[in-house]
Amino acid sequence: MNPLEVSKELTSDAFGALEKTGMSRRQFIARSGALIVGFSMAGLTTQLMAPGSAAAQRLDGAGSSRLDSWIAIGADGSVTAYTGKCELGQGLYTAQKQLIAEELSVPFDRVKLIQCDTALTPDQGTTSGAQSHPTNFNQKNLALACGTAREALLQKASAQLGVSVDRLAVKDGVIRATTGKSVSYAELVGDRTFGVALNPGAKRRHPSEWVILGKPVPREEIPAIAAGQFEFVHNVRVSGMLHGQVVRPPAVGAKLVSVEDASVLGVPGIVKVVIKNNFVGVIAEKPWQALQAANKLKVAWTPGTGLPRQRDFHEYLRNQKPTRDTFVVNSKDVDEKLARAARVVKATYLYPYQMHGSVGSSCAVADVKDGKATIWSATQAIYPLKDSMAMVLGLTPENVRVIFRMGSGCYGINGADTVSYDAALLSQAVGKPVRAQLTRKDEMAWENYGFAFVIDQRAGLDADGTIITWDHEAWSPTLGGRPGPNNPGNVITGFLAGFQPAAFAARTPAPDPTDFSNGSNAVPSYVTGCVGGRCEGTGAVASQRVLTHNVKSLFWTGPLRSPGRLQNTFAHESFMDEIATLVKADPVDYRLRHLRDPRLTEVVKSAAKAANWETRPSPRPGIRRIGVAAGRGISCVLYEGDNGYCAMVAEVEVNQDTGEITVTRLVIASDCGPISNPDGLRNQLEGGALHGVSRTLLEEVTWDDQKVTSIDWSTYPSLFLSANVPKIETVLINRSDGSTMGAGETATTVAAAAIANAVFDATGARVRQVPITRERVKTALDSRA
């Protein structure tokens, strides 16, 4: 069976029946054929049956501190666990099963994992930000539940066997005493609740003892995907389901004037034209019919509000008012230090809007009728979507259920949330289930793009060439984002249906920082990060100022793999190399000279060592100015300031006649604490790195005076399978005593600067704008001194 379909089997009919009839858990189990619905289900059901009570309003919190919300032991000894962190293609489903099997000492195959269903799983917010490992593998949430369950089982066994806990050992779900007596999990609690709270002090298995976690267990869903049997959200089929197709405006800011329903009269299969404010869609019996009707539907729109020229966009961005200004750090001595510096270095870095560009356009299925809604969605945020969906549909949240089904890889907020609203609005209009899938153009023209940036860097150096002050000022545009529980207007469908995006909160001047937070990596790795007397940065430079300006965006924006962090790291790590070149220092040595954090130092050294880094300043000596030139560059980051160390060495070849860059080798060193699954980690680092290569060399959203013109794969380039991809080598530093950190975005973060630095090393030409296209390389080559 497709392992990720478990929750559907458990609940699609049965949960509704439970709700209606108040069937006992045991009856439910018997009827559904699913052995372990879990005691959390019983608890949740009770809550659902008390409409109007506080507990019925929300299913989060209340469930998360109770062991029974996370873990259930079946009469057959199986372990069923519930998680709010979903499989998105990153291998998390398998890694979480490894965690559960390890902590409870049961075989991997005896674990059932129910993921991301608002009727079943604890509210764990959003599966994003490389936070799933920090959240579920440290001493809280799922991991803590496992530890608490193990302790509870040992205590029960101790009482039953009359043997102290320290004389008990667990293997394969059987607890054995040194006396020889034993009792199984099933005998202890099979089919019964634990009835205890999570114990913050519960002891967990130390990585040195691991036999399942830490191993390269193959991903459970891969055989089904390879066989074409896996159920993606695109494959969800509900009885009586119709098909919807939305009609988006032709230009940014265009408003609906009129719709001629008659224009689709007679289109085969047409069921209904749906209009809600500026939201327009059609429903038909079959998807091809819906698409034809959408294409035929005559819709009049106002002209768009007009867009500034793309060529001048970064100047436009820098001069936009109003702004929201933030000091991330400010030692208040930067101007003075710059004035007294032996040398001041300046550079400006530019980054475009980029898109998630999921390979499959987004899809959702919704069944909205009788004041209730069930949504099958690939959202990263099932609980927030439940709440914002209730707003869109005018329902109460307890009448909305969101069931996660994997979609096409998202890399952040792709169209999954917006298409969930699309499907739901259409379904509500006909009172029947509706499946909606976006066209390629609708996906690309209206998604929440990754942030464009302008970044000014200045550094003051002393007479020895050491950095004595660092000044960073950045502008980036924002509009909308993740809808969260109450901002459906943060994505296009919610906006068209009448909701506003979260208000832009202008703020000038920036207040002094009160806490150090480097979530966007706006603070370079080389400064102390001192705020309020506490210094949580990774570097040695005490004089520092990081001032950021958000401005209103032309387009919807939202988190795209390494949001802000990739852009800032491109600027920091390129600038570090520019300074090293000025003082004729080796880029690795120069970094180490300004770093204090031993773990960041170690990944830099490890990557350099594995790459056989040749110690010398950049650019490479004796560059011939024609033909193919080769070079290497390095870049590093502590992701989000506290969530994964990574360094990358990139080796490139630059054709100086054409400007074409070939990345030939990437060496990545990673330290994300104890490693759950080394093969899964490698897969993430490799994919993340290559995603970084694609974005560095190719990707940029384009527009004209009215609309986005990146609407398919010929207008938004990407690395196809034929690309001459680099050899990728990974060095994994497994730190068994550290906290578990994220690793899904670190390699993406460092790629742009490592490549830009390698291009400079090879040619002596510095490109300060992503994507580093042939044309930009040519321009930089031609302007070499």
């Binding site: 049997q229 993606f232 085969p268 390979v359 490799e686 399978l721 034929s722």
Partner: protein, 155 residues
């Protein structure tokens, strides 16, 4: 609407539908197959690929009438979860995917090409994959899996 017969993975299906309907919609919606995927609807990304007469074709831009009567193979027709085809097994063994949405196009394109060109060089094989897109960027593993299968085809 018109009646036509579609042969998919060795089974015949009599269908009554608009002959202009792209094959992909028929496979996914009328026959309930999960393998071929809608990625772009423009023949650009490969997610919808099926094999007809040994050739990898883009089912999202192929009218169903154009392949009526021809033997159509989808990824479901290669092997099963329990008994995968060697190329599917190569992708499982190499753990050569992340989200896996594109994998249909990767596997079907590579298989059609290598079965016809068992002695293809690496460069030729890469060229054959030029219209196939993976946005998780699992390229390195995918190429490794394809080469593993290529070794088997040669042997």
């Amino acid at each position: 609407m018109s009646g036509l017969t579609l042969k998919v993975n060795g089974q015949s299906h009599s269908l009554d539908l608009d002959p202009e309907t792209p094959l992909l919609y028929v496979l996914g919606d009328d026959l309930g197959l999960r393998g071929p995927k809608f990625g772009c609807g423009l023949g650009q990304c490969g997610a919808c690929t099926v094999i007809v007469k040994g050739e990898a074709i883009r089912s999202c831009i192929t009218p169903v009438a154009a392949v009526a009567g021809s033997e159509i193979t989808t990824i479901e027709g290669l092997g099963t979860i329990e008994k995968p085809h060697p190329i599917q097994k190569a992708f499982i063994d190499e753990q050569a995917m992340q989200c896996g949405f594109c994998i249909n196009g990767v596997i079907m394109t590579a298989k059609a090409f290598l079965d016809r060109n068992p002695k293809a060089t690496d460069a030729q094989m890469r060229r054959a994959m030029s219209g196939v897109l993976c946005r998780c960027h699992a390229h390195v593993r995918m190429i490794r899996a394809i080469k593993r299968y290529a070794q088997e085809v040669k042997a």
